[in-house]
């Protein structure tokens, strides 16, 4: 640089590591193998990559469509909304984040509940949507799950829960934490009245949801490759500086350690739930 004009450029050419692609990958590009799909292709494969078997995330309404007999789903408690009890404000007000999530997802909160039939078997569904604020559990998710338990008791049917959650919703502070015991108590009531809970864990089910209702199913199954850990991998590696195993917190690891009854591929989920509903039917 100091040699001025006419000097020899002595900069050494070196091979740089390939830069990571800018921005987020397209949602239809498989993070497992890089294959790219049209929307209709993914819909027809239940959003599973035909090349490598990667399970893409499924929105709550799409999940219900995949599982329920056509036209049988009747939504319940869709009108519930959070009311920002703490007047929470971080970089933006919580109310603004809620409104934005509602507009972008078309949902009132991170869970959709209702009555449905799967393979002709009557049931109740409580399905989470990760797209709504990371599937976080606040007062509305807790209330909806509780009402779903009560609805299952009233109808004398089994409740199926499909979870996808980053954990408790920080913006609701301690009240978000209270949704853990609230949902746990609701399951106790369900169980005492003879009802069953089938819990399906999908990627990711972490934190407060794993530490409450998602773990308390009479049967607990997970989709392949789903992360299911109380603390996320980043928190664990930062807090403990432990080297994480490659399959840390994944369904496969949890199955090996005895925390799951089965890992069920998405193509088998509907028939598996149908079979379990028949097995738990009391009449």
């Amino acid at each position: 640089m100091s040699s001025g004009q006419g000097g020899i450029d002595v900069e050494v050419e070196s091979k740089r590591p390939e830069e990571a692609p800018q921005g987020k990958a397209h949602p239809n590009t498989c993070p497992g193998c890089g294959s790219h799909y049209r929307d209709d292709e993914l819909v027809s494969t239940l959003r599973v990559c035909p090349q490598c078997g990667h399970h893409f995330r499924v929105r709550a309404r799409d999940r219900i469509e995949q599982l329920a007999d056509p036209g049988t789903f009747v939504e319940e408690d869709a009108e519930l909304r959070s009311s920002d009890p703490l007047a929470f404000f971080d970089l933006r007000p919580y109310t603004e984040r809620l409104a934005e999530a509602e507009v972008s997802t078309g949902l009132g909160d991170a869970m959709v509940c209702g009555a449905a039939r799967i393979e002709q078997e009557e049931c109740r569904l409580a399905v989470m949507d990760f797209a709504f604020m990371g599937g976080s559990m606040g007062s509305v998710v807790g209330e909806k799950f509780t009402r779903a338990c009560e609805s299952a008791v009233a109808a004398n049917t089994t409740l199926i829960s499909v979870s996808a959650s980053g954990g408790a919703r920080m913006q609701e502070g301690i009240l978000a934490l209270m949704q853990l015991p609230k949902t746990v108590c609701a399951i106790e009531e369900l169980h005492e009245s003879g009802g069953a809970l089938l819990s399906v864990l999908t990627h990711p089910t972490t934190g407060g949801v794993l530490a409450s209702y998602a773990s308390l199913g009479d049967v607990v199954v997970a989709e392949p490759g789903a992360l299911m850990s109380f603390a996320g991998p980043r928190v664990v590696s930062q807090t403990t500086r432990e080297k994480l195993p490659d399959d840390f917190g994944l369904a496969e690891s949890n199955y090996r350690f005895g925390h799951l009854d089965a890992i069920v591929a998405r193509s088998e989920l509907r028939s598996t739930l149908g079979r379990l509903l028949r097995l738990f039917r009391k009449t």
């Binding site: 009108e79 519930l80 909304r81 959070s82 009311s83 009890p85 703490l86 929470f88 971080d90 970089l91 009132g108 606040g138 007062s139 509305v140 209330e143 509780t146 408790a168 920080m170 913006q171 609701e172 502070g173 301690i174 009240l175 978000a176 934490l177 209270m178 949704q179 853990l180 015991p181 609230k182 746990v184 108590c185 399951i187 106790e188 934190g207 407060g208 794993l210 530490a211 409450s212 209702y213 998602a214 773990s215 308390l216 299911m228 850990s229 109380f230 603390a231 928190v235 664990v236 807090t239 403990t240 432990e242 994480l244 195993p245 840390f248 917190g249 690891s253 350690f257 005895g258 925390h259």
Partner: protein, 312 residues
């Protein structure tokens, strides 16, 4: 309009007013302190008040579960091990006498010096700890002993082995166990009530909280790191999610606040223990007379109402 919290504090104040002696110790000053507390409650806690609670809740000299156990319980016998694979020193369990009756105790425990802190994993339990707690709870239920828990943990331990041993499921099942118990249950947050690791042993008929304890869904640092992308903004995070006792009472998360000595529990552990004992005894007396089915129904009904929401 006085809030519920205020009414409850006033009731407590009048009760204490009529109670001159407690095990031969005069409760001098306690009335004044409760009066102070009442005044503070009427004035919304400021961001500084909240941060002061965070600091006091984590004060290195703050009494831990075993500090209270030696002062409150008679004939205490510690129970070790989850009967499965380990004894987690981050949670202590045992049986002892409280006010003449046998009770079962479950509480988080941290150490005083580095060696003991390391041994106790800084009060962060593994699933084995929660399984030990469940074992003690089952014992309480079997024999009709009331259950008393003391909560003081930054959170359940976030480690590889803890996950492999089923941390999430253990916390869920511990809560379910508490929701099922037919014996009277009282929990008290005596320091840091950190997230799932805290609520795992705090699903009770009466949940008390010491004046300077905190109870929260995430640590102030954790919340700041996620929402502010900077752990140094912990003060702001704490002010935003309000983990202090007055706010917890106001939100209906706890049932009563237990007063502490003027400058915090660490300045006078004996006095703090007396106040805690009084609070626990009072809470137990409130629920001991109830039919066990009715008590459990009320417990669940209380949690059924947790949360604030609206209709679109």
């Amino acid at each position: 309009m006085p809030s519920d919290a205020e009414i409850r504090l006033r009731e407590r104040l009048s009760k204490l007013g009529g109670m001159k002696l407690l095990r031969g110790t005069k409760l001098t000053g306690e009335l004044d302190r409760l009066q102070d507390q009442l005044e503070r409650l009427q004035a919304e806690p400021t961001a500084e008040d909240i941060w002061r609670s965070v600091e006091l809740a984590r004060h290195q000299d703050r009494p831990y579960t075993l500090d209270y156990v030696v002062r409150i319980f008679e004939d205490f016998f510690e129970l070790h091990g989850d009967r499965g694979r380990a004894d987690d020193p981050a949670i202590v369990t045992g049986i002892g006498k409280l006010g003449g009756r046998t009770v079962v105790l479950v509480g988080h425990q941290t150490g005083r010096d580095l060696k003991e802190r390391t041994k106790r994993n800084f009060g962060m339990a593994y699933p084995e700890g929660y399984r030990k707690a469940m074992r003690a709870m089952a014992l309480a239920d079997r024999h009709g002993f009331p259950l008393v828990t003391m909560v003081n943990t930054p959170g359940a331990y976030p480690g590889v082995a803890a996950e492999q041993h089923g941390q999430g499921g253990a916390i869920a099942r511990c809560q379910a166990t508490m929701a099922r118990l037919s014996v009277p249950t009282v929990a008290c947050i005596i320091g840091e009530g950190g997230s799932g690791g805290a609520v795992a042993i705090a699903v009770a008929d009466r949940v008390l909280m010491q004046e300077n304890a905190i109870y929260s869904v995430i640590s102030p640092e954790g919340c700041a790191a996620i929402l502010w992308r900077d752990a140094a903004e912990a003060r702001k995070a704490a002010a935003a999610f309000k983990p202090d006792a007055a706010h917890c009472l106001e939100l209906g998360v706890i049932d009563a606040i237990v007063a502490e000595p003027e400058a915090g529990a660490h300045t006078d552990p004996d006095a703090a223990a007396k106040l805690l004992e009084l609070g626990m005894a009072e809470a137990l007396e409130e629920i001991e007379g109830l039919d066990s089915g009715e008590r459990r129904r009320q417990r669940r009904a209380k949690y059924r109402l947790m949360g604030v929401l609206t209709s679109a």
